[in-house]
Every structure is written in structure tokens, then in C-alpha cells.
């Protein structure tokens, strides 16, 4: 490929970002914690047993996420119908809901039947992560020429055979990407496992939390964290390999189709199912936000809007509205940084022989717990000699690190399948390298980057673990305020927390819908 010169050096920016904000903090943390005695903890059976349990759980969660997410991806990214954008945005909502909120909402819906344990954890993970499948597979699915499928069926293939032999192989890399990420999220899950899990449904992440903040045994925690990072690294390496095994195609984003015949039914059923699945837990939140022990109330919303206060000028909760403004600005900066870093990383992956190794490196933050990342960032950049706290950038930086792997996962399969011959054609016609490259990749890149940036914004809106270390105590984000409210008794606490969670849902839906609109237009 005739890549422009700047592209050959584009990897420096994302590599520098990852080095400065991931490698440096983590290596210095590890250097401080590890000692020759740490090796003894490796022979402890507990972390290995937990790793086994988490693997089974994560495989089940991934399977359910795919079963739920693939039909949604198909319908929401390929067919044209009224409200499509909103349905797509709605499917993204669960991904950003604070896990505490999801766990409580989930329990109030199915908890009495399922109690705690394996099944409800798997369902909750599928609920949270189906957006990953919809987003990543959908981005690829919309670039598959629908005529291929039609041609196969014209030649006598059944609907299933056509899907299996034409569509599925083309989707393979994207499905592998999505499955790997869902596996990783489920394998490293914390909040859901703490709230809904039992003795046999736990993760290394929950073990690390216990080892650091209750036992204060940093060496044992480092071993658990290392086992987790190795498993995650292996899974991501496998996904990167699967992605690379697929030859570059000649595909572009196709127009949305109008559903005809039986497709109308399929669209109707899937959209209805999406709305019901997403909104059932959300509606229980809405219900909690207007209910008190004495019946219907608007008090919680009045407190939220600032007409009444929940604490007499307390530093702890602050104004819910200012937390929203803060969360939104962090989200926008995160979206910009993650789309820039992740986009450059995805292009470098395409342009470089070492692309796969690089792709793997950009995915590594997925294997590191958000809380560890927050703690390491605080220790590296939250005190002299390098104190970045006053800049207000620590949270967006940590959130961008968490989001970059998603951006790369969304962008790479689609960019890879973009027709590189256009670049050659443009170059032949006399365009300078950059211009030629842009002619080939520009349109796809813009669509994909906007979608990925929106996802990064959403990640930032819902993120809790890193923010809890990096936020100023008197400058909490929305998930932090919700967690603080849920940490104390009194029905006002729960009511206002529910109201804020509802607002978080609305913010996310609106943001993602707006981003999708921008993406489609360009």
C-alpha cells in the first residue's frame, strides 16, 4: 500500500500516549510492590481457582451476549425504519449504566426468582455488553454488500446457508473482536460480581480488590492482577490473529435497506425486543425515582433539579446538575482524545508490519482493572514532581485509556475491509499520497471515528473505578454521586440516586443518537 509518509510515523502518538499513561504508572507501581518474595504467592491455589471460575462465567456471558446482540446488530445497522437511530442509541445504554444501578434494577426484576449466583451474573453481563456486539459487529455488517446475500439465495442457497457461507465469514473478524471484548469485560467484571455473585461466581478483579483494600496484601494482589493480565492478553492476541487472518476486502458502507416481506417482521420483533430488554431495568429505575414510602412523589426530582437540597450545603453530594456538567465535559474530552489516539492506532495497525503487535498493545488497558489504573495514575501523576491534577485532565486521560481498545476494535475490522485500490487509483490519477489515502479511507474513517468517539464518550459517562481515585472529592462525576448516595441510608438517597441514573440513561441515549446522526450524514 502506498501509505503517505506521515502515516508511517502516526504510531508514535498512540504509542507515546500508552507509554506515558499506562506503562509508566503501572511499571512504577509494580516496581514498588513486587519483591523476591512475591513469587511464593504464585503457588497459592486461590487465584488460579478464581481464574477458572471466571473463565467459565465469561464464556457463558459472551455466548449470551452474542445470541442477544447479533440480531440487534443486523437489524439496527442495516435496515431503514423510523426510530432506527434511537433504537441503536438505546441498545448502547446498558453499557454505560453504573453497575451498582444495573445490579439493583436487575435484582428488582428477576432477583426474586434467580437470587444471586451464576445465572443472574451471566444475564447481567449480557445486558451490559450486548452494546459491544451491536457496535462492533454492526460497524462491519453495514459494510457487507447486501447483494452478495441476494446473489447466493438467487443461486438456490437457503436463507441459513447464505448467512453461513456468505455473511458469517465476512463478519468473522468483527464477531471475534466483539466476543473477545465481551469475554474480557465479563472476566474482569467487578461491580456485578460483588453485588450479584456468590462463592462460585467471582473474578480475579474482586479478589484484587479484597487483597488491596481489605487485606492490604499488595504482593498477592499483584499476582492475581498478573494472572488476569495474562489471560486477557492471550484472548486479545487470539482476537487480533483472527482479525488478521481475513484478507482485506473491497467493501464500503452500504445504504440502509427498507425491510421487505418477512424482514419487516424480523425488524419489528428485534426492535420490540431491544426496547423491552433495555427499558425493563430502566423503567424500574424510573419507578424508584418517583416513589417513596408514602406513595408517588416528585421530591427526588426536585432535589435533583436543585429546587430542594439533599444535604444542607454538604460537600459530599454537591449539586447533581454540576456533576452532570462535569461528567459531560469529561466525556467530550475523553471522546476527542480516545478517537484521536485510537484512530491513529487503528491506521498504524493497517500501515505497519508490526501492526498486530501494536494492536495488541493498544488493547492492553482492557486487562488492567480501572481501579488499579486509577491508583497507578494517581501515584504517577497526582503528586510532585509531576502533578497533573490541577489540569483536570487525569480523568479524561484514564477514561481515554479505557476507551482506546474499544475504538481500535470498532475501527480496525472496518478499515481493514475498506478497498485499498481506491488509494492506488487516486494516486495513479495524480493525487498526492495524503490526498490519495484520504480518498480511499476518508469516508469510512470519518464514520467509524465518530461512532467510536461516541462509544468513548459513553464509556466516560458511566465509568466509576478510575474516577473514584482521580476525581476531586468536591468534584464528583455522576456515577460517583450515585455511588455516594447509595452508600448511605434514607429513602431520599435511593430516590435521588435513581433519578440521577435515569438522567444518565437519557444523557447517553441522546449523546449516542446525536453521534450516530453525525456519523451517518458524513
Amino acid at each position: 500500500m502506498t501509505a503517505p509518509t506521515w502515516l508511517r510515523w502516526a504510531w508514535i502518538a498512540p504509542a507515546g500516549f500508552l507509554f506515558a499513561f499506562m506503562v509508566v504508572p503501572l511499571v512504577s507501581l509494580a516496581g514498588q510492590v513486587l519483591s523476591p518474595g512475591t513469587i511464593e504467592y504464585v503457588s497459592d491455589s486461590l487465584p488460579w481457582r478464581v481464574a477458572g471460575l471466571a473463565t467459565v462465567q465469561a464464556l457463558a456471558s459472551t455466548a449470551v451476549s452474542l445470541v442477544v446482540g447479533l440480531p440487534m446488530a443486523n437489524v439496527l445497522t442495516r435496515y431503514r425504519f423510523p426510530g432506527r437511530r434511537w433504537a441503536l442509541a438505546l441498545a448502547t445504554v446498558p453499557f454505560v449504566l453504573p453497575t451498582v444501578v444495573v445490579a439493583l434494577a436487575f435484582r428488582s426484576l428477576v432477583g426474586s426468582d434467580l437470587g444471586s449466583g451464576f445465572l443472574i451474573v451471566v444475564l447481567a453481563h449480557a445486558y451490559l455488553n450486548m452494546a459491544v456486539v451491536v457496535r462492533i459487529v454492526g460497524a462491519r455488517w453495514s459494510t457487507i454488500d447486501p447483494r452478495l446475500d441476494i446473489a447466493a439465495r438467487t443461486l438456490g442457497a437457503s436463507r441459513w446457508t447464505a448467512f453461513r457461507t456468505v455473511t458469517l465469514p465476512a463478519l468473522g473478524p468483527a464477531i471475534a473482536s466483539a466476543a473477545a471484548i465481551v469475554f474480557v469485560f465479563s472476566f474482569t467484571s467487578l461491580g456485578i460480581v460483588l453485588l450479584l455473585g456468590d462463592s462460585n461466581t467471582r473474578t480475579l478483579e474482586s479478589l484484587v480488590l479484597r487483597q488491596t483494600s481489605i487485606l492490604l496484601n499488595f504482593q498477592a494482589a499483584a499476582v492475581s492482577a498478573a494472572i488476569q493480565a495474562i489471560v486477557v492478553g492471550t484472548v486479545l492476541w487470539w482476537a487480533a490473529r483472527t482479525r488478521n487472518a481475513i484478507p482485506r476486502g473491497a467493501l464500503r458502507t452500504f445504504r440502509l435497506r427498507r425491510p421487505l416481506g418477512s424482514a419487516r417482521w424480523a425488524v419489528g420483533i428485534v426492535v420490540a425486543a431491544t426496547v423491552v430488554i433495555v427499558l425493563a431495568p430502566v423503567s424500574s429505575l424510573v419507578w424508584s425515582s418517583v416513589r417513596s414510602s408514602s406513595g408517588f412523589t416528585m421530591s427526588w426530582w426536585a432535589i435533583f433539579a436543585g429546587f430542594e437540597t439533599i444535604d444542607a450545603g454538604s460537600t459530599r453530594i454537591g449539586s447533581p446538575l454540576s456533576a452532570m456538567a462535569r461528567s459531560l465535559s469529561f466525556a467530550l474530552v475523553t471522546g476527542l482524545v480516545a478517537a484521536t489516539v485510537g484512530g491513529l492506532a487503528a491506521m498504524s495497525v493497517l500501515a505497519h508490519r508490526l501492526g498486530r503487535a501494536f494492536a495488541l498493545a493498544t488493547a492492553l488497558p482492557l486487562g488492567i482493572s480501572a481501579a488499579t489504573l486509577g491508583l497507578a495514575t494517581m501515584l504517577a501523576y497526582g503528586r510532585p514532581p509531576v502533578d497533573l491534577r490541577a489540569t483536570g485532565l487525569l480523568i479524561p486521560i484514564a477514561h481515554a485509556l479505557i476507551a482506546v481498545p474499544l475504538v481500535v476494535a470498532v475501527a480496525t475490522p472496518t478499515l481493514r475491509s475498506t478497498d485499498a485500490r481506491l488509494v492506488t487509483v487516486a494516486a495513479t490519477l495524480g493525487a498526492r499520497p495524503s490526498r490519495a489515502w484520504w480518498t480511499g479511507y476518508g469516508p469510512t474513517l470519518r464514520t467509524v471515528m465518530i461512532a467510536a468517539g461516541g462509544l468513548a464518550c459513553a464509556v466516560s459517562l458511566g465509568e466509576f473505578g478510575a474516577a473514584s481515585f482521580l476525581a476531586r472529592a468536591d468534584g464528583p462525576t455522576v456515577p460517583l454521586v450515585i455511588a455516594r448516595l447509595l452508600g448511605r441510608p434514607g429513602e431520599a438517597s435511593f430516590g435521588v440516586a435513581a433519578a440521577m441514573a435515569v438522567v444518565l440513561v437519557v444523557m447517553t441515549t441522546t449523546l449516542v443518537a446525536a453521534v450516530d446522526r453525525g456519523g451517518r450524514r458524513s
Binding site: R210, I214, T297, R383
Partner: protein, 361 residues
């Protein structure tokens, strides 16, 4: 005493003769209580956990009277904050830390997290707390109790007398009525488990076996238990929950509209576990004088009186007037259970794994 505060190390090494003096007590070289005039314009950072809260006006008072700007730094939950402070020992992320509790304080002391300072206000502490300063390295600021809470309305409706002792909880009469939190993931859950260790000694495992046979439910977190399983807090079906001695007044303070005369929950005063929260100057701070002002301020009558309704714990300063809801509905447990911080540090691993074994978790 083998640990020497890092800031004193160099001075001590200069002379073997003063070594004994240095290591026997840091009081000679403690930061002096500062005169405020020369500190005006400085910013001092206070590292706190997620549950920290004070009224904006007491913070404004501090800034107005000292000229020092107070910046609050969040360290996550209490355990994560202490973990972070230990990892940053000697080169801290803030100047003062608040909220290190008696469960974890030994670990922080062992890691030389604190720089000694005895506030002039310390003589106003409640007598039983005044002696708990670990050689002047930390200052008690507040205390509270983790206690069994009872949904009185539920028991009245069922016509059953509520339990009054830890032993009652294992009585078949109260089968399937109790929800506790996992001590491996929840701070009140850990406090309750420690309370049973303190009460029953070696028999604590048997006690949990009895609780298990009596249908105790284990939740992952306090909010999950209180809002999810407790009959009062949410739509749950368990009228007995591990919570705080101050949860009943919180019910009134955070009620919707006209608050009820009397809360519908109450506290079982047997088997409560005492938690004391400490503040300390972080060793290695470049603002030791301004940091002393923060400790003094935390112990001042204004802040101490502000603590109950913000953090729902009791002030450590003797004679601080309590809000009416505290006087009426938050019992001050005279004989709460407690284990020494040293004992916890040495045994917590074993306690958690034995608890996990007996509860099948």
C-alpha cells in the same frame, strides 16, 4: 520501637547519641502548631474517602480564618484510600489524610504514612479516645458503631418480638430473617464479622455455622443489603440487617416531605462493632504547618458539631452537642465490641478465609 519517621531519619543518623531520643518519641520535632499569618495564600490538600462530608460553611470558616485554601482529594473507599496512602508513603498525594479507621490504622502506621502531631485541641477529646493517638501520630476525629438494625414495623405487624442479642439471631424463631454483607467486600460486613470474633473468641466459626443453618443471607455490599434485601429500605423480605447505629436517624433526616415522628427501624445494641476514624499529617508533606491547621480544625467545635448530620457518626470531642434525632434514636453503645488493630492485621487473612469456608463462599 524500630520505625523512625522518614523525615527524622537523616537527623537521627548524624549522631548515635540522639538515636534513642529520636526513636523513643517524635514529640521533640513535631511540627509546631502554626501561626496563621504567614500561611495565608497557601493551599492544603485533604485526602478523604468517599463517605467524607462536611457543610460548605465550616470549610469556608477554615479558609476565612486561616487564609489557607482547603482542597479535598478523593481516595476511593476507605480501604482503597489507605492502600493508596501506604503506596505513596513518604511522597504523599496530599498533606493531610482523614478517615483511616481502627481496622486499618496499624497497617498505615507500620508503613510510616504519618508525621506525628499532637493538636492543642486533643485535650478536648473524649477520655477513652484521647489515649488512642499511637504516640501522637494520628488523631481520632469521630467514631460510630456497626449494629444490627431491626424493621420494627415488620415485627409489629407479624406480632413477633424482635431479637435483642447476637445469640437470638441464631434462634429458629428468626429463621431466614437476617441479611449480612460479605466481610471480604464490605466494610460493615467485615465489622460485623469482627464483632462476632470479639464476642465468641474461638467459638465464632460455630456461631456462623449456626447463623448459616438459620438461613442468613449474604449480600455483596451495604447498599445491596439495605436497599435490596432489607424490608424497610427496599422491596426486600429480610427485616434484620447489618447497618449502622445511626441508620434510624438517617431515615428521618432523609425522609420525603414531612419526616415521621419516630423511625420505623431501630438498633439492636448487642454485638455492635466500634469504628474510630483517625486523621493524620501525611509524612513527606511540604506543608507541615498548614497541615497542622487542618487537624486542629477537624477537632474544632464547629466541625465536630457538623459531623453527625453529614457523616452519621459521633464526634470525638467531649461534650459536643448532638442533633435531636441523634439524641433520640441513635443509641450510644457503651460496650461495643472491638479488636485491636494489631490483632486484626495479624489475623484478618485467616478470619476471612475461615468465614468463607464456613459460609461456603
Amino acid at each position: 520501637m524500630k520505625r523512625i519517621p522518614a523525615v527524622l531519619g537523616t537527623g537521627c543518623l548524624t549522631s548515635v547519641l540522639v538515636l534513642a531520643a529520636c526513636s523513643s518519641g517524635a514529640s521533640d520535632t513535631e511540627p509546631e502548631a502554626a501561626s496563621t499569618a504567614d500561611l495565608a495564600g497557601q493551599t492544603v490538600q485533604l485526602l478523604t474517602h468517599d463517605s467524607f462530608a462536611l457543610s460548605d460553611d465550616v470549610i469556608a470558616d477554615f479558609e476565612a480564618s486561616t487564609g489557607v485554601t482547603l482542597e479535598l482529594v478523593s481516595g476511593g473507599d476507605a480501604g482503597s484510600m489507605v492502600a493508596g496512602a501506604i503506596l505513596a508513603a513518604g511522597a504523599p498525594t496530599a498533606d493531610v489524610i482523614f478517615g483511616v479507621d481502627n481496622t486499618l490504622v496499624t497497617r498505615a502506621l507500620d508503613a510510616d504514612v504519618f508525621e506525628a502531631y499532637t493538636s492543642t485541641e486533643a485535650q478536648a477529646l473524649r477520655p477513652e479516645l484521647a489515649e488512642r493517638s499511637f504516640d501522637g501520630r494520628v488523631t481520632p476525629i469521630d467514631f460510630g458503631d456497626v449494629c444490627i438494625n431491626i424493621d420494627d414495623t415488620w415485627f409489629a405487624a407479624e406480632g413477633i418480638a424482635p431479637p435483642t442479642t447476637l445469640d437470638d439471631l441464631a434462634d429458629p424463631q428468626y429463621r431466614d430473617l437476617l441479611v449480612v454483607q460479605d466481610p471480604g467486600t464490605s466494610s460493615p460486613g467485615l465489622a460485623f464479622a469482627l464483632s462476632t470474633v470479639s464476642r465468641y473468641g474461638d467459638g465464632w466459626v460455630d456461631y456462623w455455622q449456626r447463623l448459616r443453618e438459620n438461613g442468613v443471607k449474604v449480600a455483596g455490599s451495604w447498599s445491596d443489603a439495605y436497599y435490596g434485601d432489607f424490608t424497610f429500605g427496599g422491596g426486600g423480605d429480610r427485616p434484620i440487617v447489618v447497618s449502622y447505629a445511626t441508620s434510624p436517624p438517617a431515615e428521618i433526616v432523609y425522609a420525603e416531605g414531612e419526616p415521621p415522628e419516630v423511625p420505623s427501624t431501630s438498633v439492636m445494641t448487642d454485638g455492635c462493632y466500634r469504628q474510630v476514624e483517625y486523621a493524620g499529617i501525611l509524612a513527606g508533606t511540604d506543608q507541615p504547618e498548614a497541615a497542622t491547621l487542618v487537624i486542629d480544625w477537624l477537632l474544632s467545635p464547629g466541625v465536630q458539631a457538623d459531623i453527625p448530620l453529614n457523616m452519621f457518626v459521633f464526634p470525638a470531642r467531649d461534650g459536643t452537642a448532638l442533633p435531636e434525632v441523634f439524641e433520640r434514636f441513635a443509641p450510644q453503645v457503651p460496650d461495643a465490641e472491638e479488636l485491636s488493630s494489631e490483632y486484626i492485621a495479624d489475623n484478618i487473612d485467616e478470619i476471612l478465609s475461615e468465614w468463607g469456608a464456613v459460609m461456603g463462599r
